[in-house]
Amino acid sequence: MTRTPLRPLARILSAREKGENPDHIERENIRLRAEVTRASSQTRAEGRLLLLGLAFFAAFTVVGARMGLLAASEPMEPRTAATGQEISGRRADITDRNGRLMATNLSTHALYAHPKQMVDPARVARELAVLFPDMNASDLERRFTDGRSFLWLRKKLSPEQMQSVHDIGDPGLLFGPRDMRLYPNGKLAAHILGGASFGAEGVHSAEVIGVAGIERALDTRLRDPAQANTPLALSIDLTVQSTMTEVLEAGMVMMNAKGAAAVMMDVHTGEIIAMASLPDFDPNDRPSPLLKGDPADSPLFNRAVQGVYELGSTAKILTSAQAMELGLVNADTMVDANAPLRWGKHKIGEFEGKNYGPLLSVTDVIVKSSNVGTANLALKIGGDRQQAFFKTMGLFDPVPIELSEASTAAPLIPKRWADIVTITTSYGHGMSVSPMHLASAYAAIANNGIKLQPTLLRRDRAPEGRRVLSEANAKAAASMLRQVVTRGTASMGEVEGYEVGGKTGTADKVKATGGYDKGKNINTFAAMFPASDPQYVIVVTLDEASENTGPKPRRTAGWTTVPVTAEVIRRTAPLLGLRPKIDYAPVASAASATTPVE
């Protein structure tokens, strides 16, 4: 570009000749030059803006197109992410503590119908009714022909049934894949597992959700896709559970009881090794809950956790242990046990109107199961301290175990804690807790005074506990319980080699209308073994048991629950690997037996 000088000599000279101001020429030139610069920079700026606009347009077009594509396209699993996780993204298995399967999934099919595609609805209805006896041919035909276009027929089909339905050969019958929850052990541990059923159902899949027990309580964990391949290991030992249930069932029949419950707990870890409630049910085919009457009569009712009963005399050891812990007495202190004890308008007596008094040692109060002796101990302790101790023992709150029923089964506690309540609760009346509560409290004594949180999940090491009794007092209490078996009310509880120690409890059932039902008992035996170094605690409860071999029915725990518990211990302790303390007959050793004879 040719540059015009600001003061071109020719024009300046001619302007000077004409007498004009040559500065005008210079200013005119400066103006022109500025105009040219402005024009070029405007063009450049416009170009840049256009480019920027284009870039933004392209970027937004890409984003928009991608969004449209994502919204419009069929969803598809990313095939290149080769983890295989999504394949098994279903409900996790449940195993016992040794890895034996307790709940798993099985693929099956659901049957549904598109009646509008059916060739011959009448024939299909007829043939289905032959295959499935619970279906009614005329009813099915009516539903196939009333104009609906979709109909569920069956939630689960066995492979044989599926083949038979295939053989009907109608295009209106269709199958949808289903994951079904299977409990291979049938009724065993039914109350722990609970059961599962289908949640949201579609043709291609259905949610499996827990409806009770641990399946419901830990539903989120079991359905978590990240943990679907890790089975949930329970603290239950399947062999022990099976043996305990078998013995309990036989005991329930033999003692003419209408129900039974048992809990076995490892005292050092708080794990529940076995827990049974009878009558039970099959979680594969969970019965529907009772609509009227007492829910406790349903087999779904878990007596070990939901059943809150008066403890009966099993609570006495708690009172004595607390009295020792507070330094009020020791195991040999003589306490007033002169029956009957009068408190206001109430009269506290002993079993069958006996009198063990006037004085009994604390140990003998437990061994003879003296109501009056315990009541006097409780009066020394006082209501406030007694309540505080029961609370630390966990008797006032629902048991924190992993069952959906546990949180709803709150103990029944008197609202006002008058002195008479202090007296009656000291020997286990007027306050109702579940066998699970009792087991957990006894486990605290057995674990040298450290209370642990009970659990249904396997623990690999002992958790942090809370000391509720000193070690010496816990040992003294365990020794008292041992003497109940060796020379007290639970003499039938002796199992050779296992040093069973425990306390019986017999309580009249509380009527729904209030008051007590004489002649209907809840018999409990809470025991620990071996008493010198307790490893396990077991609580067995029989509902309305009576032992009828004698001239008149015997309804006390010593005659009913104790022998059943002893049999449970005799059968399960070897399975738990507990070596009995038996004096072995000296056996001629190999060396001496084969010494050459001269």
Binding site: L101, P574, Y584, A590
Partner: protein, 120 residues
Amino acid sequence: MRPLLYIFSALVLMSLAFWAYRENYATQSAQKDVSRLQSEIAYLREGLSQQRAEWAYLNRPSRLRDLAALNFDSLGLLPMQPGQFGRVDQVVFPLPPLDFSQMGPPIDTIGTLDTEVDPL
């Protein structure tokens, strides 16, 4: 010089296009392979879980108990009892074999009673 550059670029472009074409098909076939393998894994896993369920069902304690009772004649199985625990020193271990190599020839011994000794 310039035409040579054009020809060279065209050749590079063609070879790149060929490479991209082959990669595209290789990827597609790999993806098909993966999805086939995954469905095979899913099928095998399903089979495995079915086998496990079957195993657990056949080994359920109540069935084993009934079988043990049914076959008592041949198996003689009884519930475990506390008395079945033993101690190590109750086990009869086999003795080490006797070493006869050091044994000398048999010795004839003739017993002679000292006549002075009173027999009783």
